[in-house]
Amino acid sequence: MKSNKSYSGVWIILVAAVVLEAISCIQYFYSRAGIRAEAEQRAQSELRRAELEINVVMVEMEAAVKMLAAEAEKHVDNPDSIAAATRMLLQTIGNVGSVGIACKEDLFPEKGHWYEICSSRQPDGSIYTRQIGGADHDYFKTEWYHNGLTFHGCKWSEPYMDRYGARTMVVSCTYPIHNKQGDVVAVACVDISLDYLHQVSEYLQIYKDSYYSIHSGKGLEIVSGADTVPGRKYQIYNEEIDKTGWKISIIIPEDVIFADLNRIGLIVGLLMIVGLALLLFIVWYAGNSNKRLILSIEKNQRMEGELHVASTMQMAMLPQVFPPFSDRPDLDVYGIVNPAKEVGGDLYDFFVRHDKLFFCVGDVSGKGVPAALMMAMTHSLFRNVTEHEENPAAIVSEMNKALTEQNSENMFLTLFLGVLDCKTGKLDYCNAGHNAPVLMADGQWRMADVVANLPLGIEADYAYKAQTTQMAYNDLLFLYTDGLTEAENVNHELYREQRMLQCLSAMTDSRPREVIERMQTSLDEFVNGAQQSDDLTMLAIRYQIPAIVMRNDIQQIPTLAEWIDGLGIPEELNMPINLALEEVVSNVMLYAYPNKNGQVFVEFAKLMALNSQPSTFVFTVTDSGVSFDPTQQAEADITSSAEERKIGGLGIHLVRQLMDEIHYRREEGKNILTLIKKL
């Protein structure tokens, strides 16, 4: 169990980790692609902007150089005017750092072999114009000069160090200056410092840690980026400026592009780890509490199981062998407990002591463990208290006291407890909130009269009231729990007392077992397979006619005496009744069955006086032999002398003498002789 649990915990974590990781990876790679596309787009757009701006600068420079050239051409024969032109241009066009006009060798012999006029803007804004050509600045060898001479139009030079003009790294745009004859006599030159280019292209640094560079067509750095570091991956985006062949590059280290993503990835990763840790904790905790839950469930189940065993044992202690009293022909008792699925709290019990039948049917409120405990307790209390107490009210009161004192669960118990005096048929009972039993007397079923006593377990000192009724022979008492009347069918209809009474009313001559079995059948038909929700207990007690059946054999006579001894007839009546019955029975045996096969059936009943004492004893002797009415026999002669006496006729004479009444009837081929003896 435990290892399974921790395995499943690990599995949960693993699966969660894999799922999260997969999600993160997918997200990461899609984000990466998106970010890369975005970076590229951004770079391209900045590159185009840079190209545009540089182009604007260049166009301005080219315009400036053309203007300068045009101005210079006007004064191509005057070196001072050329110098003035450079000065004027610088004044006119603000963003040019320095301009110059480099004349061909010996154009103005008076000025010498080299003549290059250069105007440059001073830091204070003033313009400084001077002739910078000379042996130390042999501009004839420079690229830009060569460009100016050879290209017909604007030409941009490679970057170079202008030590004489701007005194910084510059690129120069040159334009030829022609004389009136159309010959190139000088080169107009406008310089842009690389610093300026650098300034105008600053926005190319699209990431904080990205670089950009501008290279000339020959690969010289115009604007320098940072050196790349081996092993670091870079994304490089280029754009070429058509006019100059310059190449603008944006160089972004990949880790810079994906810095945000990586940072987010890191955060997500951390969150994931935290989440997984949390999940692990939850799983562990849940596992533990599950374990606790499982343990408690197991404990409950075990407890319930044990209680079920206890309950089964308890039920096994209830009388379950029927008929229960082989030596009590006057009592026929049958009972069942059908426990619902759960351990429940129904019970019945009965036993006979000193010719008294003690019985009870109870129903503990609720179900489960506490109910079963209370039921068990009630059962032992019933057995214990009845050992020294015979009054139902006293028994119930004592049981109630004990149950109330030990009742921590606020449970209660309804109970019907009765004590039937088998000798007299007097039934004392106490009904503690239980369903009123049904009594069958004289062929009529009716609810027994019950007063409203509190159920047990509520009030320790409650004074329970007992009641008394008289049971006559063949009366039947039917007890039950609400598992019967409140049984539900699938439509949630209750069985109810009406159906119970209806079922009972059809049984006026049934034995307890048959009554209960037919009731069960009726109930089963009613509920029609619905789940039994409550315990069902039924107990039926018949205070019945004791009877004896004898074979047509005179040697059976002694059993008659034994049977009569067990009827609880007052001592002084024992012999007369015994003798009268023997005379009648032996008469049947001797004369009723000429072919010797047959039976004699003797039934006993006693009638009670108003004081509940037996007053009249009634015996019915039935045989299926030849019709014979002993009451029609002539009175025996008991006065004549022995010599005159006839042997015979004494038996019927004795019966007449011994009994108060003798009635004969012939019914359905049977001789039925009723002997009545009054006390």
């Binding site: 059976q556 006579i557 008991i638 042997i647 004494l650 038996g651």
Partner: protein
């Protein structure tokens, strides 16, 4: 039910013990036959241990009584209990026998 017969010089004593009911009467009738053959002796029916008697038993007693009378003998019933005395009363047997 047992019947034990004792013979003295001038007495035949039949000692009954148990219940003389219809079932027992068959055997008892056999057991008392010696009483019927013994003439001129006093017949004592000792009922000290006789618990119960039915009409079948009474018939046996009556048979003994009749036979004795024909031989001129006397039958004495000794030590009957209350129940049997009641039966003797009801049947008039109390006047047929000498009860001791």
């Amino acid at each position: 039910m047992t019947t034990h017969i004792q013979e003295n010089d001038n007495q035949l004593i039949a000692k009954f013990s148990g219940r003389l009911d219809t079932a027992a009467a068959v055997q008892t009738a056999e057991d008392v036959k010696p009483l019927l053959e013994a003439a001129d002796k006093e017949i004592i029916l000792d009922c000290t241990d006789l618990e119960y008697i039915s009409s079948s038993g009474l018939r046996i007693f009556l048979g003994v009584r009749k036979d004795a009378a024909s031989h001129g003998s006397q039958v004495i019933v000794r030590n009957i209990n209350a129940d049997i005395r009641q039966v003797f009363m009801m049947t008039g047997f109390i006047s047929l026998f000498e009860i001791q």
